[in-house]
Symmetry: D2
Amino acid sequence: MTIIIKVTIWNEFLHEKTDERVKAIYPNGIHNELAAYLEQFDDIEVKATTLDSENFGITDELLDNTDVLIWWSHMEQDKVPDEIARKVADRVLLGMGFIVLHSAHYSKPFRLLMGTTCSLRWREGDFERVWCVNPGHPIAKDIPACFELPNEEMYGEHFDIPQPDSVVFAGWFRGGELFRSGCCWNRGAGKVFYFQPGHETNPVYKNPNVLTIIKNAVYWATPCNKRTTLVCHHFDETTEQRYVKGLTETY
Amino acid sequence: MTIIIKVTIWNEFLHEKTDERVKAIYPNGIHNELAAYLEQFDDIEVKATTLDSENFGITDELLDNTDVLIWWSHMEQDKVPDEIARKVADRVLLGMGFIVLHSAHYSKPFRLLMGTTCSLRWREGDFERVWCVNPGHPIAKDIPACFELPNEEMYGEHFDIPQPDSVVFAGWFRGGELFRSGCCWNRGAGKVFYFQPGHETNPVYKNPNVLTIIKNAVYWATPCNKRTTLVCHHFDETTEQRYVKGLTETY
Amino acid sequence: MTIIIKVTIWNEFLHEKTDERVKAIYPNGIHNELAAYLEQFDDIEVKATTLDSENFGITDELLDNTDVLIWWSHMEQDKVPDEIARKVADRVLLGMGFIVLHSAHYSKPFRLLMGTTCSLRWREGDFERVWCVNPGHPIAKDIPACFELPNEEMYGEHFDIPQPDSVVFAGWFRGGELFRSGCCWNRGAGKVFYFQPGHETNPVYKNPNVLTIIKNAVYWATPCNKRTTLVCHHFDETTEQRYVKGLTETY
Amino acid sequence: MTIIIKVTIWNEFLHEKTDERVKAIYPNGIHNELAAYLEQFDDIEVKATTLDSENFGITDELLDNTDVLIWWSHMEQDKVPDEIARKVADRVLLGMGFIVLHSAHYSKPFRLLMGTTCSLRWREGDFERVWCVNPGHPIAKDIPACFELPNEEMYGEHFDIPQPDSVVFAGWFRGGELFRSGCCWNRGAGKVFYFQPGHETNPVYKNPNVLTIIKNAVYWATPCNKRTTLVCHHFDETTEQRYVKGLTETY
């Protein structure tokens, strides 16, 4: 019996409508580009949603039916209301996977989950070589020791993130910078993967290695356990007493 | 030349005024108990402040003169305004050390920096044995393999925190639970140490091992570098071009 | 198309032949007990081997056909020759998964991979409660917040291991100790999971949670990428020059 | 009262005697170059020793008087006998600090402590820019966001090391590679810092940032606690029983 992984791709979907260069690359939006790729896999079911959809593209019903949420945003990060950002972050803490792409380092839900500014050094237009620094990690599966992105935005250190639980990829830029480009964290019962490539003016989401990494990340971020609450567990009895009574403990 | 470390102890200071049991243990408040201990060290300079002081005990001038901030709070965590919590968290990201005690796992600035709920399992009244799981860590200096706290509040797993950069201590409770009791994180240019012992109705801050741990944490959390900004660095020129011009890069 | 994971279970297989208590629990040996459980899964193919088999149970042909190696040993750890231990460790560095059970904390290949003594505090006979401290980890899938092992050997801190990449489980013992009971490391392109429960005189490998954890660990430890060499890569040309020529880089 | 840190610098001291280029840079050897720098600090006491000294430069008496051992080696790593390498590694596990420079990534004691091959990609002669990725770490104290080494040997990923407890520096090379250049691990009660810069044909150990980093690493690696044994602690009594008797536990 195949387990189906429910993936939702949330996209700001602004550049693709207003910038001819971006429209030429992703006429249906980055969300549909990624959706078309992920739909090829029998055990992945994809929905796509955008900032201009109902309730900013995030409804409870949608989240109830999402195992892994992929997020691309840039110019209108601030248009996502705080309560929507909180709702997304809470779902991650309860177990949902969260894949954060490129400029979404500055998205509200990612910053809530990181607790740092997520600021970085940047510059438009450079050549990037992505090196794998953790070949045994599931997100590195089938990825070579390095691969190149001839046109990418430079994101460089210091990247103000909490120390990742694993750094899987690091990016080298001709202009003289480097970056922790692929980073993993556990947060609550959920998993978060940040991946730097994906500037809208370059066809980065057509690169086979980039796509494989995103697909690997979907499998990696699929929930293992779901938590039942985000608040403290309090019992007057000790766990030893509860055990004698045959009571069991939940997350 | 001795470097002086400027420590500020912030205390909610409510239980000590309203609960006779607590008043009997800490007649001058937990803040003054800890201050009296830390003042013994020549290279530590201590200030103490409380929730009922000017601006909730947190002024810019105070923070300008704080290398390490120690925080105890419980019942009135929510009385600290969001903008004060943000200000404290930002100072940590810029380099300030932050030592978070006991029930302050639920304080606003700690939760902002962690990005998780910081929820846990709890029960009043148990016997705790604190084990060191990282004897080479500077916060473990001069601490035995384990030590006991005959009366302590039970805090147990699952503790909803990001994976610590180092777990230094773990607590064993007779009631059947365990806990990551002493945890370290880097956040921005600052360092954060959470330490679980310190329930107000027990004289835990008179225990010599507990005091040594707090003192060790002060030295460990002292800033190494201060960041100059919390926002992104952007330059049109590459770092290679800037280097040729003799320009230098800051955090 | 289902990918088949090739699992080899290596067992010292001595207690089961010489100690009536152990024989009564595992008449066919711990290896066959675990094999019978894992064989239920369609995508897992199991072989079992023992210290008294050809070449100490470890041949190149066997390792060529092993994705994940499970290892139980105790009294005769030293009978495994150094060159066999090295061969096993090297296979891990090339990508093989390695699941190390109970007293095999002192096995030669585990110690080679850890680089520390792997010493610990121990005492026969106690009650253990295993707590999950990382509910989002794939090895914790379907495991409750805690579960009990009424009879288990106590292993306690300080456990002299490198800081794990993830601690998934921690054990609480009635006698007053705690332990990092389920620990993960990446080593080279391979993954290592150490799991403490499994003393031979207790039917621990019949406990459903213990079995689920071992099965989860098999999936987790399955190789992602295999390295082609364990020695340094040296090229006179830069990676930039090699890229222009269309050369690709391997691990 | 100032605590004196006893530093021993062990150098292979071969290139400096046989290669005119190296002799011109370090006429008294790399060990004496580093010793002269470290001796400026009032609380650091320095000894230097070399492979061609008594017992390969490593005696018990010397180790008894060493808090932090700095190690440079390259061509004759294999001339260090296995038992000397084991002795050094064991001292680290007992608490000694260990700073491993450049080509000593392949030294026997470092490989013993890491448990991996420590292999890497390399090429003679490139321009390196060292970026700090953890500005709050004590080894980064007073180091700018990046600094340059116009002539350095390229060491690149994949570097086959265990995931560091902290990565403090990462190196960017013009030829297209990057590297985790400054890495920290706890091992037993000791601390290990690997630092990549320091090829013998370049005056890297005259660079003020490199020297500051080595000095910072000395302070960071100074022992906090010493372990009393490397073998398991076994007691028939529980820790609870031993506590009642007033017995204390050691590492």
